[in-house]
């Protein structure tokens, strides 16, 4: 029974082993600084993340090229929109170095820039050693860069898209056959859909269920707004009669003319349904609508596009820019900037538009080029022009509500409120009153004074 060789040192040995195991744990994944050698950033690894829009998904395929050129290996991650935003926000709040390049989401620009969680990019742009002149920062549409600037005008993000809401009719032939053009007002839309819904097995209307993005276009068309007078007066105005009327209109369009489970369509699912010709009309992002003219789409010959329909108080197409930014805690900012330069280079973007029909780009030279124009003309309609017209409209300033630093809270409440209305859980007035109360409470908690 006795084990003469065992002593208390067994415990000590265990402790030593445990200690030895710890040493590698405090080290992070290798981010070796640039060594000499041909490629300037040989051996560097970058962690990059963006939400799963068309453009970020496209450049994933071109990352090996990037590695060829610069020696940088990229760990690339494109989760869905809400998941991405939450993670990025959490990570940025730690000022950590978990990510080297992040997408600066439109609704978070004010929050992230204001809190000092992003790196100012002007030094990188201005430095001729880091950025060759022909990269041409001035080529980016000023309206797209604007949300990425702080109050003093310093730049914190380079935009890769301006999301613009336009109207698309995948089966315009059905509308035309019944004597309708592209509806110019919401009333016309209602009348047209009444006739056309379910003809040829095609449902009439759909919209992606990010109501915080879709609904404000209707809200403002009825004369309402999210806040009383953003960015100065942040009193939410979600319980006004205009808000209820807009919500009822949107709900009616979806419930009367939408497919099964119309409330559950994400942006990808809407695009797929339109391309397959299963659903007819939608107010949808231009970048997705451009895909109706691309390979695999069954509706190339039958689609039509226009600006979104007018409401009683006018037309307010939603416009939102997203861009690439560098977290303030990133370890190798020069390598990060290298990525941003490459990802938004004229050459790469041009190839993406030519090969994949990428729309809603932010470089003026490209938007004006013959190739791009040609790609954006689908079935005779110049969607590129619609895009530009909508951006011009947005310069009036009605999108200010979206860059308020507490907008994400309101966004969440709007999405839930509309969800309740469309699913029939609550009437519009009730649901919006609840959203108003919740938003007010959330805003107060976030430090807004009324």
């Amino acid at each position: 029974m006795a084990h003469p060789n065992l002593r208390v040192t067994r415990r000590q040995a265990l402790r030593k082993a445990a200690g030895a195991l710890f040493i590698p744990f405090t080290l992070r994944a290798g981010k070796a600084p640039a060594q000499g050698g041909r490629r300037p950033f040989e051996g560097v690894t970058l962690n990059i993340s963006c939400w799963s829009a068309t453009y970020p998904k496209l450049i994933a395929d071109y990352l090996p090229e990037f590695q060829e050129q610069t020696g940088i290996k990229v760990n690339y991650d494109t989760p869905g929109f809400p998941v991405y935003n939450q993670r990025a926000d959490l990570e940025l709040s730690t000022k950590g170095s978990g990510f080297d390049v992040l997408n600066v989401t439109f609704i978070y620009t004010s929050r992230w820039i204001g809190a000092g969680w992003l790196t100012p990019l002007d030094p990188f742009i201005a430095d001729a050693n880091k950025t060759p002149a022909d990269w041409d920062f001035a080529d980016f549409v000023p309206g797209s860069v604007q949300p990425m600037r702080d109050k003093t005008g310093a730049v914190y993000g380079i935009p890769w898209i301006s999301d613009v809401l336009i109207a698309a009719a995948a089966r315009f032939d059905l509308l035309a056959a019944n004597g309708f053009g592209m509806p110019d007002t919401l009333d016309e839309l209602d009348k047209a859909l009444q006739v056309v819904n379910k003809k040829d097995g095609v449902a009439g209307f759909i919209a992606e269920n990010h109501w915080g993005w879709i609904y404000p276009a209707y809200l403002q068309a009825f004369g309402g707004n999210v806040f009383r007078n953003p960015p100065d007066d942040l009193m939410p105005t979600l319980d006004t009669p205009e808000a209820a009327a807009a919500a009822e209109m949107l709900a009616r369009l979806l419930n009367s003319y939408g497919p099964e489970a119309a409330a559950g369509y994400s942006y990808d699912q809407v695009t797929e349904a339109l391309r397959a010709g299963r659903i007819n009309y939608s107010t949808h992002n231009h970048v997705f609508c451009a895909l109706l003219g691309e390979e695999g789409s069954k509706v190339v010959k039958t689609s039509n596009f226009s600006m979104i329909p007018k409401g009683p108080k006018g037309r307010f197409p939603g416009v939102a820019s997203h861009g690439w930014g560098i977290p303030v805690g990133a370890k190798n900012k020069d390598a990060s900037w290298e990525f941003i330069k490459w990802a938004l280079s004229k050459d790469l973007i041009r190839r993406l538009t030519q090969k994949h029909g990428l729309g809603s780009v932010t470089r003026k030279s490209l938007i004006g080029s013959a190739d791009y124009k040609q790609r954006m003309v689908i079935n005779g309609i110049d969607t590129g022009q619609l895009f530009l017209d909508s951006i011009t409209m947005s310069e009036q300033g009605y999108m200010k509500y979206r860059t308020v630093h507490v907008y994400p809270q309101a966004n969440a409440q709007i999405t839930q409120a509309l969800g309740r209305i469309i699913s029939g859980q609550m009437k519009a007035k009730e649901s919006l009153a609840l959203a108003q109360a919740n938003t007010l409470a959330d805003l107060k908690r976030a430090g807004v004074r009324f």
Partner: protein, 301 residues
Amino acid sequence: MPARRLAWGAQRRRSFLLGIAPAVLVLAIITIAPAIYLVATSLTPLNLTLPGTAWDFSAPAANYLDLAEDPRFTRSVWIQVKLSITTVIGQLLVGLGVALLLNGSSRVRTLARSGFLIPMVLPPIVVGILWRVMYAVDISPFHRFMAFIGLPVPSLITDPNWALTAIVIAETWEWFPFTMLMVLAALQMIPASPLEAARIDGANDWQIFRFVMFPYIQSTLVVAAIFRLIDSIKAFPLIFVLTDGGPGDVTEVTNYYAYRQAFTFSLWGYGSAIATLMVAGVFVLSYLIDRLTGVAHAEAD
């Protein structure tokens, strides 16, 4: 030799203290310090976008007063209560039933016990994904089967009336093996004589269960219920994967609400207040457990 005895006694005492000291120290650092930090944070309006809020104790009770008036918080508590009670009852019933079934002796049933363990030992996130597959209408074999036999079932996790039930079902599936094992162990300790006597007297199965078996397993059921109750408060991965608190906030239990306030909206002060209240509630329940099980070791000595 009394003097030597004393020295040895003191030496022993010292050795034991040495053994327990590191554990107590570590536990103190990793449980008490965070607890204090949590309560302290709950007294501030901490929000990381406004650095000044970190040590702002000007209105210490603000978060708690806010909570008292927050309809979403009270709603989350109510949802938690509904979830906990239904899932614990479900786990008790299913666990009891399966334990009774497995109580017979046969090779098959002894082997089956290991199989029934699987839901409980799977990583909870994998359980969430399993059930996501089962609840996704276009993919799930269950939904397809129901449609096939002419009783199509619409999506449960996006239906505000059924989402919580869907989660209860998944949760019950995941944890019934726990009660099953506990009840089985208790069943197998029932002495044979009362059972045989009852059978000889001609009692049927139900009577045997009700009058002979049940008294023996009663206390086990209560203990199991309390443990499962406390664990049900921690429910997270299922909700995260299946519904994300939705649709709307019908499946937003208190734990999830705290998570949202802290990690989605970055309202750390408010989230801390919710967490503090949860911990207080759990402490009360822990005290109850201690009463009922009598802290087995101290008694057994």
